[in-house]
């Protein structure tokens, strides 16, 4: 009986420390995301040339989204193969939609 609860306590300790590690990564991710946001706003406020800022802020946005997906939405943990497939298919269809609409409509 005592052994059983010892093992449970150990398991609990292990999971607690693993959750803590994950949480630390998530706070780092948050700080990176704030930094990216600041850079994006900074580029626009500094009135850097459009040809330069637009691709950069789009890339920054894309990376921020990947951070959200992988770290905040736990897509980096086990058992997320199907969710990843679904989201990437969504992104694929989304990219096609945006391209189509942005090129077809011109008035």
């Amino acid at each position: 009986m005592a052994n059983h609860s010892n093992i449970n306590d150990e398991k609990r300790e292990f999971y607690k420390s693993r959750n803590k590690q994950e949480m630390k990564m998530q706070v780092y991710t948050f700080v990176m995301m704030i930094a990216f946001t600041l850079v994006a706003f900074g580029l626009v406020l500094a009135e850097v040339d459009a040809m330069f800022t637009i691709p950069i802020i789009l890339v920054l946005a894309g990376v921020q989204v990947l951070f959200q997906l992988y770290y905040f939405m736990h897509m980096n943990t086990a058992g997320h193969e199907w969710p990843a497939a679904m989201i990437y298919s969504g992104i694929f269809a989304a990219a096609l939609t945006v391209l189509a609409l942005a090129t077809i409509v011109w008035w």
């Binding site: 999971y15 949480m23 704030i34 942005a102």
Partner: protein, 205 residues
């Protein structure tokens, strides 16, 4: 003799996916998010196509204010982090702390919504820039309005869950519900990242 899994004291490690119902909800919701991605893509595409169709109304540079958008972005990003804190506490089986952080998330979300409503009212009153002013107006309000509606729905979802489950504590029945609601909240932050980049930043560049 088996420990009662439904009671808080004996929760497994990932309570949100431990039951068949939980993992079905988890899969189903990611599928739904894939679909929502395409929904917002069609609104983004329309906005990109019509962003310069100003009729006789104001253009993007005339109306957008980056200060307000910056504050809104920081608020929403922080609320995404606080919802992660809530899930962290859920994974550690501390119900009260999870409720606390969900409460903070809701407060931040309400602040965001307040700012957005102020922004829309400001545009309509001070610039006469409304839904019917121009094609740009329609596209803008549809896209940003849809996002705002998602925020409002997410807030209602959290608030309902918090009130409904306040006396139950954490168990295998409500853990998936909290987790799914928090995934939804992250998703609307994802959409906002693209909104502030494509709509506001690209509008003021």
């Amino acid at each position: 003799m088996a420990d009662d899994m439904l009671k808080s004291g004996n929760l497994p490690e990932h309570p949100e996916r431990a039951t068949l119902e939980g993992s079905n909800k988890f899969m189903g919701f990611w599928f739904f998010l894939g679909g929502e991605t395409v929904l917002f893509a069609s609104l983004f595409g329309t906005f990109l196509a019509l962003r310069n169709s100003n009729a006789e109304g104001p253009a993007r540079e005339d109306v957008f204010g980056l200060g307000l958008v910056f504050i809104m972005t920081i608020i929403l990003l922080t609320s995404s982090l606080t919802s992660v804190y809530a899930m962290y506490h859920m994974r550690n089986h501390s119900f009260k702390k999870m409720q606390l952080w969900l409460g903070v998330t809701v407060a931040l979300g309400l602040a965001f919504l307040g700012f957005e409503i102020y922004e829309f009212v400001h545009y309509v009153h001070d610039y006469e820039f409304g839904f019917r002013t121009s094609a740009f107006g329609s596209a803008f309000y549809t896209l940003v309005g849809f996002h705002g509606a998602h925020v409002a729905f997410g807030l209602l979802w959290f608030i309902t869950l918090m009130i409904r489950n306040n006396k139950r504590g954490l168990n295998l029945y409500n853990a998936p519900k909290f987790y799914i609601a928090s995934l939804y909240w992250h998703f609307i932050d994802v959409v906002w990242v693209f909104i502030f980049t494509v709509v506001y930043l690209m509008g003021m560049v």
